[in-house]
Amino acid sequence: MDIKQTVLDILNDLTGSDVSGAMDDNLFDSGLMDSMGSVQLLLQLQSQLGVNVPVSEFERSEWDTPNKIIAKVESLA
């Protein structure tokens, strides 16, 4: 399964809106993501992609746009 598509599916599911048209928009500034969403994202990455990200690895500024998240996951997978 394609990492990019899986991450996008998770994000669309979590934010309740299609983020694929705004890959560089800050998800926290727009209110689509918050701490709760971040934790859900980490848990989904673990169960769907087997990527383990400890909470303290989650530096918000490195995970705040769809593109950054995809790049992060690809580097960890």
């Binding site: 209110g31 918050d34 701490s35 934790v39 859900q40 848990l43 400890p54 303290s56």
Partner: protein, 402 residues
């Protein structure tokens, strides 16, 4: 012997200026002298914790040795093993001295604990955070000397901002190039001067001139509904202004001094009074504390609750954790009914705020969003916050029970 509150008076700033000058020249020429930095750190620590406050100094030394033993011991242990119970035990041990200091006044009629000293909370936050990152495996290379510098970094020792070990280490181990460093010095000096305005003019006006008068008036005007009166309202705003200017002023001194030392300590305030909701307020007010709570309590608890499927719905998980998170923050301020109520108030406010944000997201078309609603949201948030600070101030305790 001389003894100072950090950033308390002009002499302190004069000494600071003289002490920082050689360090600035060194950084401009690309050199960081560990020895010199350690010496001025010790000098300012002695000024803060020496002389008449020597008992605090002794408590600080014992506390530091204790936390070094715990974090170092855990870092060595974690290289070979990773047991949950051991980790929890170590965190409890790391928090124990702070818990004793916080509970003692409540059970000993306001008597302060002997093991307490100015800044124990902020040092505990740093130690616990170091331990949690060691457990996660994100902090692999724990160094005792770096940890000591991180804990005892004198500009931020008494009241934060709360830096992070790995962020501090990266700054501490490198020297900014000249252009970057000059930018930091410029910013640092500006922060310190804005700090003067905040702390010595505005906080002085609200806190020292206005608040005592309003408090006296409020006490005389008792007898109405819940002893409330116009002076109580005035006190609420004056107290909130004092709290902000005093603490933001202090934080600017601490961040400014760090910048001049070539360490980019994170900012503590980001225009909190223009937050359109409580959730955003906590991204702008006492930021390093609220982010510490977010990263090391809120997110970890949510993670644990969801992993073990404690609650069916994610929203329930979020709400329960908001309340726990803010209650812990309330208890941390001190074991009194008004600090705990303050925590509970903010926990509930976050739950209501989150529910509203979810509703708004779902009904985007029908909820109006324009200049007027934005101004109204900011006004409402600021007033809710000021009301929470009235609870926090303890004035209600004086009105009702004294």
């Amino acid at each position: 012997m001389l003894s100072f509150e950090p950033y308390g008076n002009p002499t302190y700033f004069a000494l600071l200026g003289v002490a920082l000058l050689p360090l600035m020249i060194g950084l401009l020429y690309g050199k960081r002298s560990r020895l010199y930095e350690t010496l001025i750190s010790i000098f300012f620590l002695v000024l803060t914790f020496g002389g008449p406050k020597w008992t605090q100094g002794v408590a600080l030394i014992i506390y530091i040795l204790y936390e070094v033993a715990l974090t170092w011991g855990y870092a060595v242990y974690r290289k070979h093993q990773n047991s949950g119970p051991i980790f929890y035990l170590m965190v409890i041990l790391a928090i124990a001295p702070l818990a004793v200091v916080k509970v003692t006044p409540a059970v000993e009629n306001g008597q302060a604990s002997l093991i307490g000293f100015l800044g124990i909370s902020y040092l505990t936050f740093r130690a616990v955070q170091t331990m949690m990152e060691t457990r996660d495996g994100t902090l692999k290379d724990y160094q005792v000397m770096t940890f000591l510098q991180f804990m005892l970094f004198f500009p931020t020792i008494s009241s934060g901002p709360i830096d992070r070990y790995r962020r501090f280490e990266a700054d501490y181990r490198s020297v900014p190039d000249r252009e970057k460093y000059l930018g930091m010095v410029q910013k640092g000096i500006r922060y310190i001067f804005v700090g003067f305005l905040y702390k010595f003019i505005l906080a002085y006006y609200f806190g020292t001139m206005l608040m005592p008068k309003l408090q006296l008036m409020a006490m005389h005007a008792r007898g109405g509904f819940l002893d409330l009166s116009w002076p109580v309202l005035g006190y609420m705003y004056a107290y909130s202004a004092d709290l902000f200017f005093d603490f933001a002023g202090y934080s600017l001194f601490a961040v400014g001094t760090s910048y001049i030392m070539g360490i980019a300590t994170p900012m503590n305030f980001k225009q909190p009074w223009r937050s359109p909701n409580i959730k955003d307020f906590w991204n702008r007010w006492h930021i390093t504390l609220s982010f510490w709570f977010r990263d090391f309590i809120y997110m970890r608890l949510v993670f644990w609750f969801m992993k073990h499927k404690i609650f069916k719905k994610p929203t329930t998980t979020a709400n329960v954790t908001y309340i726990i998170n803010m209650l812990v923050m309330g208890f941390w301020h001190g074991v009194t009914w008004y600090y705990i109520t303050y925590g509970l108030f903010h926990g509930c406010a976050l739950v209501i705020n989150d529910t509203w944000l979810r509703y708004k997201k779902k009904h985007r078309a029908s909820v109006p969003h324009n200049g007027f609603t934005q101004v109204f949201a900011i006004f409402l948030t600021a007033n809710m916050v000021c009301f929470s600070f009235l609870i926090f101030s303890g004035l209600l305790d004086k009105l009702w029970f004294h």
